[in-house]
Amino acid sequence: MIGKLLTSDFLKIKRKGLWFLTALGPIGVVALQMVNYGVRKDYLLEQSEDDWGYYLLNIHSFTPLAIVLGIAILTSFMASIENETNAWKQLIAMPVSKFTVYLSKFSVLAILLLLSSTLLSLLTLAYGVFLDLGDSIPYSEIMKYGFYPYFAALPILALQLWVASVFHNQGIPITIGIFGVMFTYSAYVLPDWMIWKWPSLMNEWDEPLMNVMLGLGIGVLLYIVGMLDFARRDVK
């Protein structure tokens, strides 16, 4: 059942620009460092003994923003496919459970974002090698900065999908998305419990894995709450 819905949902995102955005996010993040290192590489290499580590920190300074902004746009696009002509009623009148419909939407987005994260890791590695930052390539650190923010951002994905599929007025999820980006931008001053801080991997204990665990736990929780609420509502 979920397989059928997934292939159907992947067909529906055709020509909607979701694939393009999926690639644009990581490309943008690495491209910013291309500009940064292109303009002042010598200065940047002087800043730290650990050139790879410093480079990854630079990359990571934009990853959370890209993810949070990407989530807001992708979820809104995804919901707009059904909202535009109220195709929800056609979809829900099919022999499918509302839970599966919601799970499929969430899965498509989670897969797209996972692809983004993979692409980010690959591009980070490629540009790092191109910059000739040293022979001992820190593969695990690259993966960490590529995928940790993704897991830490799952609660935001769950929240945005919920809001976007429940409210037909896309102004509401977009507004929440913009606030989310602003929160993420000021992650440094946010308290640890704010979900928008998590993709930055910062916390009181300086333990990024903590954000990953919280992201997975609260992400699943928010997903379930959203799904139950979606299933409870009448389709207009």
Binding site: K12, A87, I92, V235
Partner: protein, 303 residues
């Protein structure tokens, strides 16, 4: 015969507003059930509840003798539907739109070409639906509802926005389906003429209540002309007519009769005069189906 669709005291309220109250639908296999009522009478809300899109506030719905709230998925596998305005994905072609639904239903790919042929959209199969006219979108919606060869087809205002030739086409298609595929069809409309030309059974709703449910013949019968006779003493006149074996009714000083050949009217007047009752007026009232529909739905006397 058993009912394909049966609702019992089906009600739905939005806050304080009662959209549907105590509707008892009874639809048998192979029927074309015309669901008739003015705009906002509760037709679409009822249909949404049949499809499990909305939960009833109270009452039960049984489709194929199964409860919709419990067996929704099994039931919907045999139900095709088109609810209100057609839903479609404008950025996809007609073919891709059907493909997205076909994947969920799990029917063979050849069905897409078949249903496109049925609604005569084959030439536009690879065009984006964005550029379709309303009539074409409507036809695409009907094609989508036929994809899985449903046993029950629920069409909400399917001829909305179609041009006259499109309406005739859809009408012929709908009439064909029960005979050729053994489908049962529920079709809602606010146009009586539309239902009159297709339906075998009619249900009329007004302000959320079912006010008439019977065969279309029974409805036509009530549209036959009646003769009203205004007399000095209706009660006495009625008695004497019944005593002579003539079927009549009396109300508000009027005697009303169903059948009205000239000879019969003459005979009745003669009887009344012989009984010493003064005959003031003899009137014939012709009522069209539209009149009856209006009278039923507005609750006003049109006499």
């Amino acid at each position: 015969m058993e009912y394909i669709v049966q609702t019992e005291n089906l009600s739905k309220s939005f806050g304080k507003e009662q959209a549907v109250s105590n509707i008892n639908l009874k639809i048998r296999k192979g029927e074309i059930y015309g669901f008739l009522g003015p705009n906002g009478a509760g037709k679409t809300t009822t249909i949404r509840m049949l499809l499990g899109l909305m939960k009833p506030s109270s009452g039960t719905i049984k489709i194929f003798q199964k409860d919709v709230t419990k067996d929704r998925i099994n039931i919907l596998a045999k139900v095709g539907s088109l609810v209100e305005n057609p839903s479609y994905y404008p950025h996809l072609t007609a073919y891709e739109n059907l493909e997205a639904l076909r994947k969920i239903l799990g029917v063979p790919k050849s069905r897409i070409d078949e249903v496109l042929a049925i609604v005569r959209l084959k030439d536009a199969a690879n065009k984006k639906v964005k550029g379709f006219s309303l009539g074409m979108k409507q036809r695409l919606g009907i094609a989508a509802s036929l994809l899985h060869n449903p046993e029950l087809l629920i069409l909400d205002e399917p001829t909305n926005g179609l041009d006259p030739s499109g309406i005739i086409e859809i009408r012929n298609l709908i009439k064909r389906l029960p005979a050729e595929y053994g489908m049962t069809i529920i079709i809602s409309s606010h146009l009586l003429s539309e239902i009159d030309q297709m339906a075998t059974q009619v249900g009329i709703v007004s302000k959320g209540k079912m006010i008439f449910q019977d065969s279309i013949e029974a409805m036509r019968k009530s549209a036959q002309p009646k003769v009203f006779i205004k007399v000095s003493d209706a009660e006495k006149g009625w008695r004497s007519l019944v005593a002579h074996g003539i079927k009549a009714e009396h109300k508000d000083g009027l005697i009303s009769l169903d059948e009205c050949s000239d000879e019969k009217v003459a005979h009745i007047v003669q009887i009344l005069v012989q009984e010493g009752i003064l005959v003031y007026r003899v009137e014939e009232e012709k009522r069209s189906l539209e009149d009856i529909f209006l009278q039923m739905t507005t609750g006003e006397q049109l006499i």
